[in-house]
């Protein structure tokens, strides 16, 4: 009864409840509304409406289709009449003189079979494209009169582009371009051709069982060498680049830990009684951490030039600040009793640190170190893209050329696999090195206990 025996009337109680509800309602709707307002502001601040105009969807389409397919160029020099074939139109992918893929037959009239009834003929004078369901398009290139095109219909459909000096036909089967100087056919195929061997290798186009058979006959070294020195996909350079990236992360992380550990002792209350030194060390940590990895990269690249050393040092310097802070917090939380216990056996100062302090902080230090190793693999990719080293550099180079999208796709897959592998490896090592990880994990995952994780 006592709970009901207040001097409030039902109406007053209801009003109070209503106020509570309306406040909750305001919070529940107000918070999403604020987020929404901010997103609307960002929408206009970033000029998203203007983005549609600036975006180049054609680029996107080429990128996607190019990343899983390749094209073979059949080119006729209109002055000399010579016909050559090259994968992706690159010199490195050119077929030897007089050789072509089997869907091209060389002769007085070169016949290119694009399948599904699409046939292109490079005649002595005239280029013909037989398009099923449309007719035959003829084009006669000459130096004096440009490109004279004859279409079966009066009006050109939108997939044929005719002008005085150029004819371009794009169909599902391929593409034909005729200009005054040359005629070129592109045929698209799915896959990454030449990934294993280039055309000049004797092992090009051999099936896997055949290669195994050859390897069994003692050609294994030659096969590996041809793969390793593939000029198109550059497996050797890619392997080195990945190694460089991991090296940057490894050296940066471990180097930072080695520098930060002694400094961390100087920044703790229980190991360093001098307040001024403590204060100075902590400010050094804050400064190094606050000057972002970007700025360190820029500064160090001026001194050492581009390369993996610069990247490793940039990671080292930035992480020294972060590790210093984490380590000093771990050191401030050590149990003094264990140190006293070691001291009571007559241990000197180094022995006290070695047997009293280090065993206590090792699990925290190691697990932080391994978290950072994984995240620094990602940072090393990014820093490599800026300073020029490792897989990040290869990726930016491939993107800048704006045509080797299959290589870009390949590098992206490799980067993701590399990071996932490092993630798995550091997790595995953490479990092996630190017993009772499951118990510690929940403690470590507490945001307060780990205030600085920068994954």
């Amino acid at each position: 009864m006592s709970t009901l025996a207040t001097n409030l009337t039902t109406a007053e109680l209801k009003a109070e409840a209503d106020r509570l509800f309306s406040r909750k309602r305001v919070v529940n709707f107000g918070l999403p509304a604020m987020v929404l307002v901010y997103l609307v502001y960002v929408f206009f601040a970033f000029d998203v409406p203007g983005l549609a105009a600036r975006a180049n969807w054609g680029n996107g389409k080429t990128l996607v289709s190019d990343s899983y397919s390749y094209k073979t160029h059949i080119t006729r020099d209109n002055r000399s009449g010579e016909v050559s074939a090259a994968i992706e139109g690159e010199r490195k992918g050119r077929y030897p003189e007089g050789e072509t893929p089997d869907w091209v037959s060389l002769g007085e009239t070169t016949v290119i079979d694009l399948e599904d009834g699409h046939v292109v003929r490079f005649g002595p004078e005239t280029i013909e494209y037989d398009i099923p369901g449309y007719g035959v398009v003829r084009a006669t290139p000459s130096r004096s009169a440009g490109v004279q095109a004859e279409l079966p219909t009066d009006e050109a459909p939108d997939w044929i582009n005719v002008s005085k000096n150029r004819l371009a036909i794009t169909t599902d089967a391929g593409r034909l371009t005729v200009t005054r100087n040359r005629s070129e056919v592109f045929r698209y195929f799915t896959g990454w051709e030449l990934f294993w061997f280039t055309l000049d290798s004797p092992y090009y186009g051999k099936s896997f069982p055949e290669l195994v058979g050859r390897a069994a006959q003692g050609e294994g070294g030659a096969i590996l060498n041809d793969f390793w020195t593939n000029k198109m996909w550059r497996h050797q350079d890619v392997a080195w680049a990945i190694f460089e990236t991991i090296l940057m992360a490894f050296l940066g992380t471990l180097g930072a830990a080695m520098v930060a550990l002694p400094l961390a002792f100087m920044a703790t209350r229980n190991f360093n009684p001098m307040k001024s030194v403590r204060f100075a060390t902590r400010r050094v940590f804050d400064f190094v951490r606050g000057v972002d990895a970007l700025i360190w990269t820029v500064v160090l690249a001026r001194a050492f030039g581009p390369g993996p050393l610069t990247g490793a040092l940039a990671i080292l310097v930035t992480d020294t600040g972060t590790f210093g802070k984490i380590f000093s917090e771990a050191l401030e939380n050590v149990d003094q009793k264990q140190i006293e216990g070691v001291q009571s056996t007559g241990a000197n100062a180094p022995q006290r640190y070695r047997f009293g302090v280090i065993p206590q902080v090792t699990p925290v230090l190691l697990s932080q170190l391994l978290y950072f190793l994984e995240s620094n693999t990602r940072s090393a990719t990014v820093i490599g893209a800026i300073t020029g080293g490792g897989i990040g550099l290869l990726l930016t180079q491939a993107i800048i050329t704006q045509k080797d999208w299959e290589e870009v796709a390949y590098y992206i897959v490799l980067i993701i696999l590399m990071v996932m592998l490092m993630d798995w490896f550091s997790g595995w090592l953490r479990k092996r090195l630190i017993r009772g990880e499951t118990r510690k994990k929940s403690k470590l995952r507490d945001p307060k206990a780990k205030p600085l994780l920068l994954p």
Partner: protein, 293 residues
Amino acid sequence: MTDLTAGPSTVDQIRDDYTAMARRKRVYGGILLILFVAIMAAGFRTADSRNAGSFIEGWHRIFDYPAEVLSEAWEKIAEMPENLFEFFPALIETLNIAAAATLAGTIVGMFLSLMSTRGMAYLPTLIPLFRRISDIFRAIPEIVIALVLIFILGGGPVPAMIAIAIHTAGALGKLFSEVNENASLKPVEGLQSVGANWSQRMYLGVIPQVGPNYVSYALLRFEINIRASAILGFVGAGGLGYELRNAMSWGQGRYDEAAAIFILLFVTIVIVDQISGYLRDRLAHGSEKGASA
């Protein structure tokens, strides 16, 4: 009696065993240490030989560039306020990229984490799928997506925002799902028993439990994303990084601008770190207010 004689009975024997063990341990430790030092040394040598300039030649030049920048900035100290003012919009853009990406990443990460936690997932059979998705999102460095999107969408803040948001979603998805594992499922069951649908169960049963942790991790991510957004600017995604690259490629004569950008970036990072550290401290050592946020 025979049992006792079978074991090490004398003090000498125990001591011998102990010293042998200690010696073995010391030898292993020594070997590991030598191996570690050798690997580090070899690593540094390899990195050094593959670098454009070597460490020995360059280490005394580390401070040349900062000194050059600072001395020029000092000469033009009068223009510093003007420069700071000039690049303030770029700073706002960098902050906006980080904030919008954190916001979007938090929302997606929340969804990913709820979908990949046992007992909360809307479709329990798809838990492994959502876990793999957040693993892959987490593994992609921001710069990869940013560079590809810059090619399609053109330079500007949007590619950077999307790139950072994707990585943030993956990273937060994993952290959030660890938080979710520790949440009690009883409120969810209670809500289910009164006929609440999935979104109501999540919004009323799970989010109030995990909210403070979510906010804390999101703040941590915001700190990280400011750095990331500055770096992405450097490859053409707008904001401070972009201005910094322009000022730097101009070289001498515009170092005062570079110095202004350095200062803005440094001060911003320190301030945001401090504020977010304070807020996270509040959230972890819960005042009641923090819990309802």
